[in-house]
Symmetry: C2
């Protein structure tokens, strides 16, 4: 415990000022503290026993919290409530999802897809007050996830009754993974193929009542089952839904973009892209969550590393060496610390981009002259957010696993908190756009931008390296000083990114010239497209971090200096991680590569010096961290032992000794019976043969 | 289902012959098939419901299997039994561990540490027949894992009674993670500090009875608790043990290497290293397990990828495209397929090395002239196995996660089998030698070997690149043909490895020359030491694979050709993965780097062609795979749906609607009461004030 206190003496920066920087503002920090206090004191969020709950227990525990969240939901503005959810997601990912399917998925689908009359109608039905109403989001099917256009559930207009018939035509079309379906939802936003007069019109959204909210009995034609055990987030009741000729009024189709009239006319939206705006929010949340969850994981691993001692480098030392003092342990954790901070600043920027995009979209009328500019903004935000969602969630999943392993054998215990965190977080890599597919979307946008820029169209800020391609490609790092500067690092990223974007575009064009279709050519160059997206995304993150740092006022609180170190560290470490790309692009020479590796090791040691104050500035309470290893006071072993004992009280008598162990350990010796003696079979055979012989001889 | 059958038409090789090659021999393959059949028909191994069992249920289920395993254990030779356990480890990792702590850890500790009289004594007590006897392995403590010499449990000789007193002096010395302690074990092999006449003699092993085998009551002075929920392997009952002045006869200390006499004389072993031979077996098992588990994971992901269709690259196509036909999906899975096969051949070789080492050790007498040669062999096997254990288990953990994500959203379902597999496997990276520490041990051995070779001592086969260092370092890949050949790849690995081993050694020497102690210098150069171990290990694996392939007879069954392709693929992919090292070493030029990337993509496509027959040649039955996604017949969706339904039968009534949901969704509207009207407080205040005024005026 003294160890951690010592780490906090003479910090390299004012911890509160660092905290404000990490949270964007004093106000945001204050609000987060308030939320953490509120959930800690709200006993429905009690989490001491959480790691031992079974799936069924977790589900009950999760629904209990709904009461509290509804109170906040109805009494605070949406921005504050979103900020509250971001904290809750770190404290309790399963609960966040269970409420999120209603609020984030269902309600947003209605908000963005309904006409204003429809929206008012669903409000009056209790959608936002969550009164006799709980929504779920029926998009994915057993056989279709990523390919939304390929969904097979049908919604066929019956003009005689002015109704849609919602139907699951085969097993593969069963709605699957539907969060909240198994035990919570009364209504579902169903994605289905619109069929009018025998003609398919593509995937639209329909509100389908599932259960009577008074009794929770399933409505006619609705089949719902529980899809059971998952890797994590067992607090959320994912289910499957099959519709068997279920009838809903025509007005239950969301008609802001597409419309179907009483007499069966279908109007398509002028611009398909506008409907995709809703995806942005989920991605932004996940980038934000990536930074926050990485900080949670690192709080556990880094504090523990300062307390845990193992081996002495000199037998004369009084104590063993703390893990945090080992260069290899610093190498494992310190770069991830820089990365988590970088993700935090990137997320702040992404939230700003999302707000700007949403405002532009909301203000838009179909014939607006700003339409093209808005679409450009949407496209660029979309491509950027796709790559960020993919690479940030992947990196954070890896961060959690590295933190877990950095706790050695103890990391395998659920009570340390990292194993459950991994299991909860892992779904971020495949839901709301599979990471690989999103990364490729981002790569596709890069190729398109390259081609545009070759055709003379100037690219925006995020892609400005395409505007002066020759210069960028020919740039070389001339000295260690350049390598070690923020401007140098950014220029290196630009060169490497430009090189691989160009290579991807050339491969694409090469396949096109050999007769591939556009889709085929994109598939064929997918690996290099993926690589281009990866390095572009790192560049984007580095830039957000750098801009944020440079915008900070000069001050003697040490914050700017430490963040500059972390920014440099993140950049150089990423260059090392993607070393082959920087060597290949020609920007980095072999000699500088060796110096780079040593510099990264030095930066690990520099960061180590303020690692604990930096962790403190992430400001997660012991309650939210819920790990004896991540405690602020460093009283690791005593609290770990106490938590294990609390959750595994001695059982008397032994739960299964009499039934199961005793029959095995006390089993009788198998005595090898001498069958010859017991039966005397061989003698009998001799007798039988002798008799036969006699009989034979008698015959003769 | 037809899809998978189609993949099996006209295979590129004879699948049976490939299977024999992957399993080492026809006999090994036959035996594995027999074991798989036996456990499938043994109903105690029933696994259809396994993914839904709680920790407590799993523990009971696990102990039930002990009965069966004991039958096999007592009736088959040790080699066959080991081969059986290797299969069981794939089918049921938790059970393998629970029996393994007795057999692999406890019994081996006694076998290797006991004098022959002691061994006979423990045999007579039921150790090997597992009769009134179940052992556990008491090494790790709450505060000490990797540093065995730092363990704090004490074993103090009481010369008056000729006993040892085993004692846990503080909380941190509590034995922790002890598999089998919570509910199974009757005896423990306790690692404790030997104290005789007040003097410490280092860590020795003592057999300490824990429980009365007739009643399972704890013996006096023994405290045992359950350490509860873990990331995976919940079938094993890990526990903690505290000893409070527990007395055992002096003869219960294992005395093959160190001896303590009646009058308190202590004899130390002539060579400390000999006691570490036991560690080798665990590592070899884990390398073997890495290959096997990777094959299990790939069976699930690759078969599913052949069945799952998503998107069409051409709208005119009748069906959507199978995932396996997408170049990016090939990029995700095919290299891992080559790697799993490489691990299989490496493991065969490692088992041979282990046998040779064990035979040499067993034959050894203290004054043997072969002592030095045997120690060299032990040292080299030790260093090699350390690196292999680390990098193979890391790679396989990553393989499982990649396979899981390659199943898209469904990979998050427990029933697909990959999430539980990840959770079960993850412990391999931290137990029996933390991977990072093992990798560094391997790197330390490489530096030592480099220094020896610089001093003129010729190195053995595994390190032969050190014998002609200048030539190796100056080697350059001259053409694509060289890059694409097995000899070329091996030479590239030698150059890159030599470069980084030399760099590590130079960094080490540099720190030494600046005044660091040996230990400090090793720590300071740990990152580059780690890198050197990583590329050396890849070289070792590539070589085992190459040698195995080249040893195969020429034949027209297609096996040798396909394995050559896989070997080349593994090598080139590893060069790409570690691209910066090959570019930096000077062996690989920038131009060839671009060609390398394209060649790896081509090899993905080539391997894709025979991916399903290759998976078939891994020969895991549907029972062992236990995943609807990995089924041989490809009937994925129907069986997935059926498995989910079987394990989540519809619940009537709703489990918690009345209790938990109704109070929330049907809650009364909160009416905002007009307090002013209800209480009339403001009017009252006016009245009070008016009265006071009057009173005041009256006073005046």
């Amino acid at each position: 415990m003294e160890t951690l206190q010592k780490e906090r003496e003479n910090p390299a920066f004012n911890v509160h000022a660092m905290s404000v920087a990490n949270h964007g503002s004093e106000k945001a920090l204050e609000f987060k503290r308030r939320v953490m206090l509120e959930i800690e004191r709200d006993l429905s969020f009690w989490n001491d026993d959480i790691y031992d709950l079974t799936k069924d227990q977790l589900r009950e525990r999760t629904i209990i919290k709904t009461h509290s969240i509804l109170n906040w939901f109805t009494n605070e503005n949406l921005d504050d409530f979103q900020a509250r959810l971001a904290v809750i997601s770190v404290a309790d990912p399963g609960f966040w999802t269970r409420f999120g399917v209603h609020l984030g998925l269902f309600s947003n689908a209605v908000r963005s897809g309904a006409t204003s009359g429809q929206f008012a109608y669903w409000m009056s039905k209790g959608m936002l007050s969550v009164r006799n109403f709980y929504g779920c989001f029926g998009m994915t099917e057993l056989e279709h996830g990523s390919n939304v256009a390929g969904l097979q559930t049908t919604a066929t207009l019956d003009e005689n009754t002015d109704e849609f018939v919602i139907h699951t035509p085969n097993l593969g079309a069963t709605k699957w993974w539907i969060g909240g379906a198994a035990h919570s939802a009364t209504h579902c936003a169903v994605f289905a193929q619109l069929i009018v007069k025998g003609k398919k019109h593509g995937t639209k959204t329909f509100i389908v009542p599932l259960r009577d909210p008074q009794t929770y009995r399933l409505l006619p034609g609705i089949t719902i089952g529980d899809i059971g055990k998952k890797m994590g987030r067992d607090g959320i009741d994912n289910g499957y839904i099959q519709f068997t000729y279920v009838r809903i009024p025509r007005a239950y189709m969301l008609m802001r973009y597409s419309q179907v009239t009483r007499d069966g006319q279908v109007f398509e939206p002028p611009l398909q892209q506008l409907t995709y705006g809703a995806l942005l929010q989920g991605r932004t949340l996940m980038v934000n969550d990536s930074g926050n969850i990485a900080k949670k994981a690192l709080t556990i691993a880094v504090r523990y590393a300062a307390v845990r001692r193992q081996f002495k480098s000199d037998p004369k030392n009084q104590y063993e060496t703390p893990l945090l003092d080992y260069p290899i342990h610093q190498r494992r954790l310190m770069p991830l610390l820089a990365q988590a901070v970088a993700f935090g600043f990137t997320s702040q920027e992404l939230i700003r981009m999302l707000d700007a995009t949403n405002k532009a979209l909301d203000a838009l009328e179909p014939s607006d002259p700003k339409l093209e500019a808005t679409l450009e903004l949407l496209k660029s935000t979309h491509a950027t957010s796709a790559g960020l969602k993919a690479f940030c969630t992947w990196s954070t999943l890896q961060t959690i696993e590295t933190c877990r392993q950095a706790c050695g054998g103890h990391g395998y215990s659920s009570y340390v908190g990292l194993a459950p965190l991994y299991n909860d977080f892992a779904v971020h890599c495949t839901w709301e756009g599979d990471n690989t597919i999103l990364a490729l979307q981002s790569g596709r946008a890069l190729i398109a931008a390259y081609q545009e820029s070759q055709a003379g169209k100037k690219q925006g800020e995020a892609l400005n390296y395409l505007n002066h391609m020759d210069e960028t490609l020919n740039s070389k790092c001339s000295s260690f000083e350049e390598l070690d500067s923020l401007a140098g690092i950014e220029s290196g990223f630009e060169t490497a990114t430009a090189y691989f974007v160009q290579l991807a575009a050339k491969e694409y064009e090469d396949y096109m010239s050999k007769g591939s279709t556009r889709e085929q050519a994109f598939e064929q160059c997918s690996q290099i497209r993926f690589v281009a997206a990866s390095v572009h995304t790192s560049l984007f993150i580095f830039r957000q971090f750098r801009h944020a740092v440079e915008k900070l006022p000069e001050s003697d609180d040490g914050v700017k200096k430490a963040l500059e170190t972390l920014c440099r560290f993140y950049g150089l470490w990423q260059i090392e991680e993607k070393g082959a790309l920087f060597l290949r692009s020609g920007w980095l020479s072999s000699d500088l590569y060796d110096q780079l590796a040593r510099r990264v090791t030095e930066l690990c040691a520099e960061t180590r010096k303020f690692a604990i104050p930096l962790i403190d500035s992430f400001e997660y309470t012991d309650f939210v961290i819920n790990s004896p290893f991540g405690r602020y006071d460093g009283n690791v072993y005593k609290e770990y032992f106490a938590m294990v004992q609390r959750n595994n009280p001695p059982i008397k008598p032994h739960p299964y000794f009499e039934r199961l162990i005793k029959p095995v350990l006390n089993r009788a010796m198998e005595e090898t019976e001498d069958l010859d003696e017991a039966i005397g079979l061989d003698e009998e055979i001799d007798e039988i043969q002798a008799e036969r012989k006699e009989a034979d001889q008698a015959k003769k």
